[in-house]
């Protein structure tokens, strides 16, 4: 309104400032106040959640083992052009560093740490380092390379030195290469890993495929139930809703144990099948500790996440639309396909994306019922963090998974909007 007015009679607030300005000020203050309310939680989430994930990201490409164990060598070797062998004075520094590390045995800075790090790049090279270090203080004069080769002829392999140069740089892409089944060759070119060792890309594809299957099955099962719930009178549907919500509120571990009891070879389903004569006692079906077990248990666990968004969308579709379509001559199928189904698409999008996002990062259920072929990428991440101790590789795999999930989350936000998440 003020735009249309002459600049001479601008509306002013009680203190004489122009109203527009005053309004802007108040709005700013209100915005700030709203922001302040969220501030404690935002800070909390940043410290307790975002920074840890950032820490993981950094570890996936920052691995200072080399510089920790052989600090002086790490510095000088970078001058080397990578042709033939490094000059003998560099190797001298290496031998001295090795002897020192062996003497100090400081946690995280031992020869064993370096050996493990190099072993990731050249499998089977661990003992080359631990053995050499035991005798490193005996080598006191050059030529050092010859002395090393006398200890172990593997030192004559130029690739060992190229690799040493690579692992003594703090920042590396090695772990991302490993996470995508690739590696460096002797000339620092990126090549695919040996076929027998390709595990992560196939596993990632398998994770995506199994998650897609689980999502599809959830959709197939959830759609009729959500439809039934949305058409029944409120009292009945509230009652039946409990059957959907109870699993939702029941502990994941409880549901997984329940499925072990149901599916194992001596379990309830096999017993019923034997009792009914579908199968004989000798040929019980293996339904658990494999991919089948993972899929069945996960469909059960994730089903409520599909039913609830579908139900909340279907509830808003007036039944009169279908009647109208039929009264105008559409067959049942036609009315469903052209009138009802399109209206449920927002619910489908919400449910499908949510279930897929949750499925792709699942860990506990596959770990318990997946046996060996029902494992997902999360299980591999956990294995590297907890038992193989290749933390950087675990972090690199985690980062790849995180990128996939965040992309899906972004899509979810675009299509559905996080504000529309509801439970019950």
């Amino acid at each position: 309104m003020s735009d249309t007015q002459n600049s001479n009679d601008v509306l002013v607030a009680y203190d004489g400032t122009p109203l527009k300005q005053q309004l802007a000020k108040t709005t700013r203050r209100m915005k700030l106040r709203a922001l302040l309310l969220t501030l404690p939680l935002v800070l909390f989430i940043i410290i307790a959640f975002v920074l840890p994930i950032g820490d993981m990201l950094i570890r996936s490409f920052h691995n200072p083992t080399g510089t920790n164990v052989v600090p002086n060598f790490a510095e000088v070797i970078q001058e080397w052009d990578g042709q033939d062998y490094p000059p003998d004075e560099m190797i001298k520094v290496f031998v001295q560093d090795l002897a020192l590390a062996r003497k100090n045995r400081e946690v995280g800075k031992t020869v064993g740490n370096l050996a493990t790090r190099v072993n990731y790049e050249i499998p089977g090279s661990r003992s080359l380092f631990t053995k050499t270090a035991r005798k490193a203080d005996k080598i006191t004069e050059g030529p050092y390379l010859d002395a090393l080769i006398k200890l172990d002829k593997k030192w004559a392999n130029e690739n060992v030195w190229v690799t040493l140069k690579r692992v003594t740089r703090d920042y590396t892409l090695s772990f991302y290469l490993a996470a995508t089944d690739r590696k460096y060759d002797e000339n620092e070119n990126i090549i695919r890993a040996d076929e027998l060792y390709r595990i992560y890309l196939p596993l990632l594809y398998k994770t995506i495929a199994l998650s897609a299957l689980i999502t599809f099955l959830c959709f197939l099962i959830a759609y009729p139930v959500a439809y039934l719930l949305s058409t029944l009178p409120l009292r009945t549907s509230n009652l039946l809703m409990i059957l959907v919500l109870l699993p939702f509120w029941t502990s994941l571990l409880v549901r997984t144990s329940a499925w072990i009891a149901m599916l194992q070879t001596e379990g309830i389903i096999n017993n019923i099948f034997v009792y009914l004569g579908f199968i004989d006692d000798e040929n019980r079906i293996q339904m658990i500790y494999n991919a089948t077990g993972t899929v069945i248990a996960m469909v059960h666990i994730l089903l409520p996440f599909m039913i609830l968004p579908l139900y909340s969308v279907m509830k808003t579709i007036p039944p009169s639309y279908m009647r109208a379509a039929k009264s105008m001559g559409a067959s049942n199928f036609m009315a469903f396909r052209r009138v009802y189904f399109p209206q449920t698409i927002p619910g489908i999008a919400a449910g499908v994306l949510l279930v897929f996002i949750l499925a792709i990062g699942y860990y506990i259920t596959p770990a318990l019922v997946g046996g060996s072929d029902g494992l997902l990428i999360s299980n591999e991440i956990a294995r590297h963090i907890q038992s193989s101790l290749n933390w950087s590789l675990g972090a690199a795999l985690g980062t790849i998974l995180l990128v996939v999930v965040l992309a899906l989350y972004w899509l979810y936000n675009k299509l559905v909007g996080v504000d529309n998440l509801k439970f019950g």
């Binding site: 840890p52 994930i53 509120w249 009914l276 579908f278 999360s378 985690g398 019950g424």
Partner: protein
């Protein structure tokens, strides 16, 4: 419609035919009775079709009902089945013949006793039994840890989450969608990633940062509380913002115009109205923490094992029906939680005039 009328419906006739086929195929009396009851229930429970429905529509309708029955069974049966199994006398996860024959000797509460006895130094001693149980019994310790973590993280998550939800639901809130996405993200990011990050950050990077925790937060209750609070926050945000979306903001202005401070307005006007949402959110956070196991696997010490952590190692190593006994207790707890949340939701809808109640 009376029962005798229902028996004459085509649905019922179809059921009879199906049951006969089933009986011929399986030749088992018990199975046939079960089949008949299973699919008979929806016929009697559901509203019948209008009389003008065609034969095809009828078949379709009953097939649909049968499918839905199967799906509901799929949802609920695995959870209910563990209740009788937890009273098994034998150390197995399946029904023994005695159990099916309802032989009282085939049922026992020994696995419930095991919850108390397992891990005790002297489970048969009379003196000092209670103290021994409270201090040493493995599952009791797990219950204590779980409840401590759940209560502490629920209080934190609900307080921080409600504050943030109040901000997020203000119409003038800037960057609403970005901030909401950030606050919901702990629910979306795979737990393994969250736990890995926390394992690195709390254990390694935070060494010496927090006074009193020179070794960082790994293997401390504080670290676990922070982790569980993070995971509970999205649920509080979602439920409380949902409640606030129907909140009449003029009530705040009315209260302020009558001279109430912001503080008084919140506690006297806003809070009573959004309390059901807050409690639901808190219960969600509580159940999330109670159920969470990945962060505990990565970060907790053996003394800090929670119920689900204990179940996890039990299922991986030595399956015993004690796990089913614990599971039964958890199912009963989730029934209580669910009932509370449902009652609160209806109360809240009634308060806001959304449903006739």
């Amino acid at each position: 419609m009376t029962a005798s009328q229902r028996v004459k419906t085509p649905g019922f006739q179809a059921l009879v035919v199906a049951t006969i086929i089933f009986a011929l195929f399986t030749q088992s009396v018990g199975g046939t009775i079960g089949f008949f009851i299973l699919f008979g229930i929806p016929l009697f429970a559901m509203t019948p079709l209008p009389p003008y429905a065609s034969r095809g529509e009828r078949i379709w309708h009953y097939a649909f009902l049968a499918t839905c029955t199967l799906i509901f069974l799929f949802l609920i049966l695995p959870i209910l089945i563990i209740i009788p199994l937890s009273f098994n006398t034998e150390p197995y996860f399946s029904f023994t013949e005695g159990m099916i024959a309802l032989d009282p000797e085939a049922y026992s509460t020994r696995w419930y006793a095991d919850i108390f006895r397992f891990g005790m130094t002297a489970p048969d001693a009379v003196e000092g039994w209670w103290e021994d149980m409270w201090e040493n019994a493995t599952w009791i310790r797990a219950f204590r840890n779980s409840f401590f973590l759940a209560i502490a993280s629920t209080i934190l998550a609900t307080t921080l989450g409600t504050l943030a939800a109040l901000g997020l639901s203000r119409p003038e809130m800037p960057f609403r969608s970005a901030i909401t996405s950030l606050l919901i993200s702990p629910m979306i990011v795979p737990l393994v990633i969250t736990a890995t990050g926390m394992f690195f950050f709390y254990g390694g990077t935070m060494q010496g940062v927090i006074p009193g925790y020179p070794d960082g937060l790994a293997k401390t209750y504080l670290g676990l509380v922070l982790a569980h609070t993070t995971l509970g926050v999205p649920f509080v945000i979602i439920t409380v913002t949902a409640t606030l979306s129907g909140f009449d903001r003029s009530l705040i202005r009315a209260s302020q115009s009558l001279g109430a401070s912001g503080f008084t307005t919140f506690f006297k006007v806003v809070m009573p109205l959004i309390l059901p949402g807050m409690i639901s959110g808190a219960l969600f956070a509580f159940s999330t923490s109670l159920d969470e196991v990945v962060a505990v696997i990565f970060m907790a010490d053996v003394d800090q094992r929670t119920i689900p952590r204990q179940m996890f190692s039990g299922l991986r190593e030595q399956i015993s029906p004690t796990i089913l006994a614990v599971a039964t207790i958890l199912v009963i707890m989730s029934i209580i939680l669910l009932t509370t949340v449902e009652l609160l939701r209806r109360r809240s809808e009634r308060l806001r005039g959304l449903s006739p109640g």
